[in-house]
Symmetry: C2
Subunit: 198 residues, 2 copies
């Protein structure tokens, strides 16, 4: 019953994850109330995702130049690498602001069942960076799933004997969470990875 | 930390009702995974909202021509008007499919406190339609709030003495709802507007 423009917009919004028919309809209709500038910024930015957005040649982060802002930043510690699965994970770490090293985006996790092998993700470029830039420590910050653990294990294996510290972010009870609602596996890890008061 | 294109997209998504920082970020990043065709359809449709979308000269429904598809439809009963607040309400009625008359979009409800008077909404055009098109019945389908009731009352007043049946949609207990959770006012209306089995 809606004009073509609106039904097209509804179809577009429905392509986003977690957006169903009702929400898509609501969003499409809200577009009618946006001013010209917003619509222009919106359409230009959408187009730019296909033309301007690249990945950083060093770390794989999203950027609009050859190098991302983090790699360009001269104040950052270039001897530390935080290894993440996707570029969007970087934003999370940057929000905390307490990590001052560089990142390395794997672009996926090893998952032989899904046909994703070590050569399909950015592991060889990680090795190159470690060798060429005298990296002192790499922090594995991949999610604690079977794929994440496999990837972490693989990276640890191929770095064996090399002069680099490998660490992983702590897993355990989230801050502010009620212990009653924590799953047994997390609790087990929280217990075995306990820290002593010094 | 995101490139300009992404932060722009996040800003655009944040302008939608009910979309906060986190969701906006998620939606903006999903745009990166859309294919060229979707991006093109999306940008074109967004632009079209400013250029192609008009309101029907008869009823005020959204359309891309002078007249909306409902007004153009020769099979519809042109002697019945369903009066709604906004054009998006029409989509709801059309989904049921049991109303075969035409619509009239008020484009707002009378609310003197907000400075919305009868002349600010499409009441005079409603009067014209009733007089010019030999309308037999108008169904008031505005929401049961103070503004809705005031608008309904005003329309009833100005149509007094005219040869047109005025009805309003039924208010009462929603189908499938548990009576325990219905507010007293709704229950009172449900009781007073009870229908007898014939």
């Amino acid at each position: 019953m809606y004009p073509k423009t609106i039904t097209n917009l509804i179809e577009c919004f429905k392509k986003f994850p977690g957006i169903g028919e009702k929400t898509a309809e609501r969003l499409a209709l809200s577009c009618l109330e946006m001013n010209e500038e917003t619509i222009e910024l919106f359409t230009n930015s959408l187009k730019d995702t296909k033309t301007k957005i690249k990945t950083c040649k060093n770390c794989g982060n999203l950027c609009e130049d050859d190098e991302c802002v983090i790699c360009k930043d001269k104040t950052r510690d270039k001897t530390m690498l935080c290894v993440v699965e996707e570029s969007k994970n970087i934003a999370l770490f940057e929000k905390i602001g307490s990590f001052n090293g560089l990142y390395h985006v794997l672009g996926g996790l090893i998952s032989p069942l899904d046909g994703i092998n070590p050569e399909d993700i950015n592991i060889s470029s990680l090795l190159n960076r470690i060798e060429e830039n005298k990296i002192k420590e790499i922090i594995l910050a991949v999610k604690p799933t079977v794929e994440g653990e496999t990837t972490a294990l693989y990276i640890r294996k191929i770095l064996e004997g090399k002069d680099v510290i490998i660490s992983k972010i702590a897993h355990g009870v989230p801050m502010g969470a009620d212990i009653d609602y924590i799953d047994p596996l997390t609790l087990e890890i929280a217990l075995s990875d306990r820290t002593t008061f010094s």
